[in-house]
């Protein structure tokens, strides 16, 4: 299973789901520069469609989106690919929802706006953890 995901020569395959287009585009650029294979989705639905087509090592998921509740998207992600690590992005003050997300199998959460370095570290931790677990 993990072999599929690491086809791209050890690069981590990342699915970035957030409905704030400007944020998604700049974040994907910066992550790509840090050697991540980034796929973007601008809504929960798009994220699910992307996951249907492809497999990912990790997903970065905004909990507050217009079309779907982040927790619902998380549940679907976990059903479709239990191996994929999910890191949630929340606004301050909605940590409660994030903690709920951890119960549903998310790896961890970060509050928005977050330091890019923190996010990268989290992603590496998560993919390392899932990889060693298998």
């Amino acid at each position: 299973m993990s072999g599929n995901k690491s086809e791209t020569g050890g690069r981590v395959k990342l699915l970035l789901v957030d409905d704030e287009e400007a944020y998604v585009s700049i974040l994907s650029k910066r992550l790509a520069k840090r050697n991540f294979d980034v796929t973007t989705a601008l809504s929960g639905t798009q994220g699910i469609q992307a996951l249907r087509k492809d497999e990912f090592d990790a997903a970065v998921l905004d909990l507050k989106m217009q079309d779907m509740d982040g927790i619902e998207v998380l549940k679907i992600f976990k059903k479709m690919d239990p191996q994929m690590a999910v890191i949630m992005l929340t606004g301050h003050g909605s940590e409660q929802a994030a903690r709920e997300g951890i119960q549903f199998g998310a790896f961890d959460y970060l509050t928005k706006p977050c330091e890019l370095e923190d996010l990268v570290e989290k992603i590496l931790q998560a993919t390392h953890a899932t990889r060693t677990a298998i």
């Binding site: 400007a22 944020y23 700049i26 910066r30 301050h92 003050g93 928005k112 706006p113 890019l116």
Partner: protein
């Protein structure tokens, strides 16, 4: 001063409410009282009057019989004497004197003298203390009348001796000629029969003849001609045995009871009179006592009604004020909640653009590292500028985070809290307001403070309230607020001391009471301190205050330290 006294606008309403309650209580309690005492009083009055009059009637009837008996006895004695002895025997003065002595021995001194009078009116024989032998009675009224009847009792008159007396006589025949045996009855003996009828201080009796002349000495002055029984003297309208009772006011308006009955075959009238006020004195006294008791009772009822109504209305007013305050508080809370939601929404919305800006700045820095721009002379300026964008972005993030912390609903979840951090958060929020009020906030925080178990948002609420109160206590000149954290026994104590106006002793007792506020209407709900007090006592701590008017106020917030756990265990528990 909200929370004390009635709202001035509804004073009229409460006044009329009080009045209505007092009236209802009075009507309900006094009406039966009046009805019962009125009924009992009326029947008692009527029956007491009837009893008094009945008693007087019986008394007068008895005395009338006594007097009639007395007169009949005297007549019988004289009649017996006249019949038992011959004219010759009785005209013998020595014999007559013996008879008088015998009579006096028998009946006391009521017989004064004895005499035999012939048909010419000349007293031919006499026994007694006066010299009345051969006295001529032919012109005397009694003689004329005595000659016409067998037995006769005269009216009281002064006669020849100049003393009041009356005569009892018996007419006899001797050889075809009429003669009279007469006896004088002592007035005093007779008078005492009537004078003894004395009741109360104004009741007395007397006897009148048909001409309205007194036959006995009345105790008080009486004008017989004006009295109601004058007519009864003149006409024989009432049966002999009848005793008449009448209540009538005299010319001066004094109510009097008159009782009378006729004596001596309707020749005389035995009259009794008494002032009504005297006769009914006991009743009047009882009535006065009843009225006094009634008035005292009424007074007590009125006072009780007023006190009760006032107390009830005060209670109602207090409840209504509290309800109003509660409504205000609910509206206030609603406003706060919507402002909170608005703030939270804005904070959320700002987060995204800020995040984008920070990331864009990061992206430029990423690019700077590899592009030829490295060579530009302004590289350092670019980097400084990018750092500045990032720093300010973080500042925005901190601001929105703080805003969200306070705007979200109070979270009662208990956590391990470093009190100093909460204090610093709160102070940073209040800093702006303090600056405008020229107030300096100084801190003196113990760096070795143990963590406490509490809800951070509740602690924030308490500290914020304390600092806001302290800011409110300062006048326009400003002042200093000092926040100190320290350990005291098993408590972390936070002192919030201001240099404000201080709290007067009279208010100090009440500051933790709900709805107690000294702020102008609409400015304060009077709930802040009471809620803080509630929060602190609920978590096992305490909230106390020291204040000196003119110097300032210090609030002491006592937060309990979990005693049984050391730091390591607390941490493991947290995760």
């Amino acid at each position: 001063m909200a929370g004390s006294g009635l709202p001035s606008t509804s004073n009229g309403y409460y006044r009329s409410l009080t009045r209505n309650m007092v009236l209802i209580i009075l009507v309900v309690s006094v009406t039966p009282l009046i009805l019962i005492s009125g009924t009992i009083g009326y029947y008692f009055d009527v029956s007491y009057h009837a009893k008094v009059l009945e008693h007087l009637q019986v008394l007068i009837k008895k005395h009338k019989q006594n007097i009639d008996n007395f007169l009949n006895e005297k007549l019988a004695d004289i009649g017996l004497l006249a019949k038992s002895y011959t004219f010759d025997q009785l005209t013998d003065e020595a014999f007559l004197k013996d008879r008088l002595t015998l009579l006096q021995e028998q009946y006391g001194r009521s017989f004064v003298d004895l005499g035999v009078v012939n048909d010419q009116g000349i007293q031919i024989a006499y026994a007694g203390p006066f010299r009345l032998k051969n006295a001529d009675y032919s012109k005397a009224e009694w003689f004329t009348k005595a000659m016409h009847t067998e037995a006769y009792v005269s009216d009281v008159f002064h006669g020849l001796r100049g003393l009041p007396h009356f005569i009892v006589s018996s007419r006899q025949d001797y050889r075809g000629k009429k003669w009279i045996l007469r006896a004088t009855v002592d007035f005093e003996a007779f008078n005492s029969l009537v004078e003894n009828i004395r009741i109360g201080s104004t009741g007395f009796a007397f006897i009148l003849n048909k001409k309205g002349e007194f036959q006995t000495k009345p105790r008080f002055e009486v004008e017989a001609a004006k009295e109601p029984y004058v007519d009864f003297l003149k006409y024989d309208s009432t049966p002999l045995d009848d005793v008449v009772v009448l209540e009538k006011a005299d010319d001066a308006g004094v109510e009097k009871i008159h009782v009378w009955s006729r004596l001596k075959n309707a020749d005389w009238l035995l009259a009794y009179q008494q002032k009504a006020s005297d006769a009914y004195a006991v009743l009047t006294q009882a009535q006065k006592l009843t009225i006094v008791i009634f008035l005292i009772g009424m007074g007590v009822i009125i006072i009780a009604a007023i006190l009760l109504a006032k107390r009830l209305v005060r209670h109602i007013a207090k409840m209504e004020t509290e309800k109003e305050m509660m409504n205000e508080q609910v509206i206030e809370a609603g406003k706060l909640a919507s402002i909170g939601e608005l703030a939270a929404g804005i904070a959320h919305e700002i987060n995204n653009p800020v995040a984008v800006m920070v990331e864009e700045a990061g992206w430029i820095r990423d690019l700077l590292d590899e592009e030829d721009l490295k060579e530009t002379a302004n590289l350092e300026e670019f980097k400084r500028s990018l750092n500045q964008i990032q720093t300010q972005g973080h500042r925005c993030k901190q601001i929105t985070h703080k805003l969200l912390s306070f705007a979200r609903k109070t979270d009662p979840t208990i956590k391990l809290v470093q009190v100093n951090e909460v204090i610093e958060d709160v102070i940073s929020l209040s800093q702006q307001r303090a600056m405008y009020a020229s107030v300096k906030i100084e801190t003196n925080l113990d760096p070795d403070l143990p963590k406490v178990e509490a809800s951070p948002s509740e602690l924030q609420q308490v500290f914020l309230n304390m600092i806001n109160n302290s800011l409110d206590a300062m006048d326009s000149k400003g002042g200093t607020i000092e926040v100190i954290s320290r350990v005291s026994g098993r408590f972390v104590v936070v002192d919030v001391a201001d240099t404000g106006a201080g709290i007067p002793k009279s208010n100090l007792q009440r500051i933790f009471d709900p709805f107690f506020t000294t702020k102008p209407v609409g400015k304060g709900t009077g709930l802040g301190l009471s809620i803080c007090y509630g929060i602190m006592t609920k978590m096992g701590g305490d909230l106390t205050v020291n204040s000196a008017v003119g110097l300032g106020t210090t609030f002491h917030i006592h937060i309990p330290v979990p005693a049984l756990l050391n730091d390591g265990e607390i941490l493991s528990k947290r995760v």
